[in-house]
Point group: C2
Chain length 473, copies 2
């Protein structure tokens, strides 16, 4: 929590609708000590705010901390990373030419298993939290590992660093290496309950960190395990996260491993399996969903389950190009995930950029009409919506974060771009980033420029629930 009431002044940019950004220029936003936005005032400079706005709130002007966006800077909602594996962070950028299943065995499981060493877990988790915060990620849905103490440590570190997080102890009791597998459904359940209890003790109001039930994916979970996790979700009303339909070999394997005769599912689809296990709920985050069938999409939509689109991983692991437009057309809520380390970047801004590019590769596919291909394209506005409002809804926080509205909490980033002077230079203070803005360019150019070339250097400050959690030196 912030120790003082805060007044933010300048330009605020956030999503008004899927395809529309709203620009609030010369505006004022007031955030109280609980981190809640209590006023959003247009056409309100510092003098006016102090004369009329703060008194109206009953705030003592001398005790308010004022934060001003300078020329070329704007406030933007914090990013929501709806899918990432914290223990895999050291492996980002390491793939060889592998695809999903061999990549898991070659690179991923050995690294995850090694994080049962508390010192290594502390090192890696400390780094991944710092790194994602520095990229403006104010909320992250983390997969940890099967190890309870280090999963709990991840939650503790998020809480200490002030990052909003969903933290899941990973469940996997079959088709995984002997050295990295739950011994039984019962032990997986007990370990999951233990981790949930720890996280609830650490943040009883779940105001910042909450547990999330995490069956890794169908292949690595037995039917009894999935069923019991589904029951646990019903009992606790906790969210669920898992993977679905990322890769064709994976989908074939799921079909072979889980015939409807053995599961009671209504068909042999991947989504149908999860549904039969009680895992397809309105609190479920499904990562990838690249190859869903029409029937599966209808089921996902009916259950109001949410989808985390992970474009960097789609491309890097050659999984396929997810049909985001098709999902959105079916009323399915989507957000963005970095999917580290299936994705190579810790940045949701990079995920947004790559979502634009992957959508263009979809548009270059074969369609019966060029209009059909054209519709596949996601715009800058749309991917920034997915990165904020969309992600917030995916993790069930759409009333709390994702935009600048009275009653929401102040999860935000201050973004600064490099303003090129007449000699072709950018001052060190403004710059140090890779986004150059020229004097004749306006806001409608600046935000796309940020989306296409921005990085953590442009994220000058980051707040969660009103607390300053990252500042770029």
């Amino acid at each position: 929590m912030a120790s003082q009431n805060q007044l933010f002044l300048g330009t605020f940019v956030h999503s008004k609708a899927l395809d529309e950004l709203e620009y609030l220029h010369n505006a004022a936003v007031c955030v109280d000590t609980s981190g809640t936005i209590v006023a959003v005032e247009r056409e309100c400079d510092e003098a006016k705010a102090k004369e009329t706005l703060l008194p109206r709130l009953g705030w003592d002007v001398t005790e308010v901390e004022v934060v001003r966006a300078k020329k070329g800077q704007f406030f933007f909602p914090g990013f929501i990373d709806t899918h990432l594996h914290a223990p895999q962070y050291p492996n980002i950028g390491i793939f060889g030419k592998s695809t999903l299943l061999d990549w898991l065995n070659t690179y991923t499981f050995p690294l995850e298993a090694s994080l049962s060493d508390p010192a290594r877990a502390r090192q890696v988790y400390t780094r991944v939290i710092r790194k994602t915060l520095s990229h403006g990620t104010t909320c992250a849905a983390y997969y940890a590992t099967i190890d309870v103490p280090s999963t709990n440590l991840l939650a503790d570190l998020c809480l200490a660093a002030g990052q909003r997080a969903l933290v899941g102890r990973v469940c996997m009791d079959q088709y995984s290496p002997d050295y990295y597998r739950d011994a039984s459904p019962e032990s997986a359940l007990a370990d999951t309950r233990e981790s949930i209890a720890h996280i609830r003790r650490a943040d009883p109001s779940m105001s910042l960190v909450r547990p999330i039930i995490t069956p890794r994916f169908a292949i690595s979970c037995s039917v009894p395990l999935m069923r019991q996790l589904g029951q646990l979700a019903a009992e606790t009303q906790l969210p669920i996260q898992t993977h679905i339909s990322e890769n064709e070999t994976e989908i074939r394997t799921v079909r072979e491993l889980f015939p409807p005769s053995a599961t009671g599912a209504q068909d042999d689809s991947y989504a149908g399996l999860y549904d039969a296990m009680g895992l397809l709920t309105h609190r479920t985050v499904l990562a990838h969903a690249v190859h869903l069938t029409e029937g599966e999409a209808a089921l996902v939509a009916a259950r109001k389950a949410k989808i985390s689109h992970c474009p960097c991983s789609n491309s890097a692991l050659t999984s396929g190009a997810a049909r985001v437009r098709w999902l959105l057309d079916r009323g399915i809520v989507c957000g963005l995930g970095t999917d580290m380390s299936g994705g190579f970047s810790p940045s949701i801004l990079a995920a947004a950029r790559h979502a634009v590019l992957v959508s263009r590769h979809r548009a270059m596919g074969c369609y019966s009409s060029s209009e059909e291909g054209e519709r596949e394209k996601l715009s800058v506005e749309e991917v920034l919506f997915l990165a904020t409002r969309g992600g917030a809804e995916v993790v069930g926080l759409e009333k709390k974060v994702g935009g600048f509205e009275v009653g929401m909490e102040w999860d935000a980033q201050l973004v600064g771009l490099g303003m090129v002077d007449e000699e072709g230079k950018v001052s060190e203070q403004d710059g140090g980033g890779d986004v150059d803005v020229f004097g004749w360019q306006g806001w409608e150019d600046m935000v796309p420029k940020w989306m296409y070339n921005g990085d953590d250097r442009n994220t000058k400050k980051v707040w969660v629930k009103g607390r300053l959690v990252h500042e770029r030196k």
Copy 2:
């Protein structure tokens, strides 16, 4: 030129073959005052270098400048950007949902035309040279504009900044806006000759900057203009750069505008047209080549023309995913281009990364066998070859730059990655970048990590022809 002989010590990484990087650890490279590499010595630390290597060269140890790569750092050849439009730099990241031809009219031509203002040209060109140098681009094949003075200024600025460059005054006498078009083939030729003469005066030995004949692309050039530029190339033995087969509408337009009956070409193909105009030579750099036919590829290969692959632009402009493996299989030399601002990034490292990703989208296409798709994938090693040795051959400098060999010139960058300590921190000195390396990771992990997440922060120093031309503060 460097004022002193130089001794570089540490790890050197460069391409040995298309799919193989060579790591020279604990090595020494000596560069004389002309910028030429005179020794590459393996297993040679500083003491040994001073005791045996420098005396062997007849160098006075006290007068040699020593540059050491620290832990986590390595020397890598400078990048070659084989295709970019310097005047378009301010527009990177600005596309809307346009594709090639409407993008040219909406965004590109107005900006290019505005650079006839010398102050704006100086501002933009200064910035683009600084920016590309900071990303490790030691050599760039620039398109300027139709304006002669500002084209000449670009060459002068490259020379002053020490960037190796090919600089082309753009020719376009048809199907372009009235406000931005050559008045006639004759005036285009005269202006081109004027710019060539200027650049030759500025760098008589062409040791750093050289002119390049630049018909924009077929659509915007009349047959007489293309013929005369072909003759000029034959007369001067200068290189040529142009675009080919980027976008399907463009290709259809070329076919309609230039029937073989009017050109004397052997068929109605895009490559056939350039060939008939005398523009398809072993010194020609063809940007894009996304949709070449088998027959065109055979013609390009026969003429030994080179191709600049611009993956960021392929995706961003929805042009198509170039078939790099297919081109390489046909013996065609390829390099990488940023294609700013059709591409969104000033970085060849980003182009290399995106070349990997675009190749994966090709691999996800429809093939009769999975092996066929698999072959489409470009590896980290391959794209780094394209970024250095490949690019050098594309611009005709393969004997001079692209690798660390005796007799080549020292066009190089010092790359540094962030080494994560046990507390999960990276020291400011090493870091400030986005690439985190953990203690247990070796060189075979570090280079891919750099390729996937590196940026200009990792490029600590840049040299061209032995001269330090960029240093990161």
